[in-house]
């Protein structure tokens, strides 16, 4: 079951941003709260609500810290989260002037737009290979 609230995708974006800034380390909740406040979202409870929805939707996974400070929950973004957050941001900006669409519309837009985006990405990849630029990620293995 898809769970959506207006904090969901901004939370995913914050997790992705902080994850990159931390050099790939899992993100503590304090860092996400700080990022969300920087984006203009307030209310710890609301932000947690977005975080829990992102975990349930498979956009963020939970890891537990192994240091001596007990089992702290840390957060790592998934690639699916990056794709859907990108689509959501574009839809919200282009068609809703930055406001939050309804859950049904979000689900429909994301589901429909993945397909054309995939083929445009294939075209861009083919173009970059043809021009001799394979990007900056050599020897990457996928499963």
């Amino acid at each position: 079951m898809f769970r959506f609230n207006k904090y969901l995708y901004p939370t995913v974006e914050c997790v992705i941003k902080r994850h990159a800034e931390l050099g790939g380390e899992p993100v503590p909740v304090g860092s996400i709260l700080e990022c969300m406040r920087g984006e203009g979202y307030s209310g710890v409870r609301n932000i947690y609500y977005g975080l829990e929805a992102s975990i349930q939707d498979g956009y963020v996974v939970v890891e537990y810290s192994k240091d001596g400070r007990g089992k702290r929950r840390l957060y790592v973004p998934t690639l699916l989260g990056a794709v859907d957050a990108g689509i959501y941001r574009a839809v919200a900006e282009a068609l809703y002037s930055g406001e939050s669409p309804s859950p049904e519309s979000v689900r429909a837009f994301i589901c429909s737009m993945r397909h054309p985006i995939f083929w445009i990405a294939v075209g861009r990849l083919a173009g970059s290979i043809a021009s001799g630029d394979r990007g900056s990620v050599p020897h990457t293995r996928y499963s």
Partner: protein, 72 residues
């Protein structure tokens, strides 16, 4: 590409993977924004009614097309 079909990247250093994930977000946003590119056409700028109408039309169209996606 693998992100779009839901595969997991294996064998990449986690620092590099974090940067790639961030780049995927920006790249997908760029492609999606160009697909939806309402703002690029000056005739829609500042025309709120037209913009909303286009948005509503797009929503109806995507909801109609998404039924198969939901079933999948």
């Amino acid at each position: 590409m693998k992100a779009l079909i839901g595969s997991r990247v294996v064998g990449m250093p986690k620092a590099r993977l974090a940067v790639v994930t961030n780049n995927i977000l920006n790249e997908v946003y760029s492609i999606a924004a160009s697909l939806l590119g309402v703002g690029k056409y000056p005739m829609f700028n500042g025309v709120g009614v037209l913009r909303r109408a286009l948005g509503a039309l797009a929503i109806r169209f995507t909801v109609y097309n998404a039924e198969q996606c939901h079933q999948a």
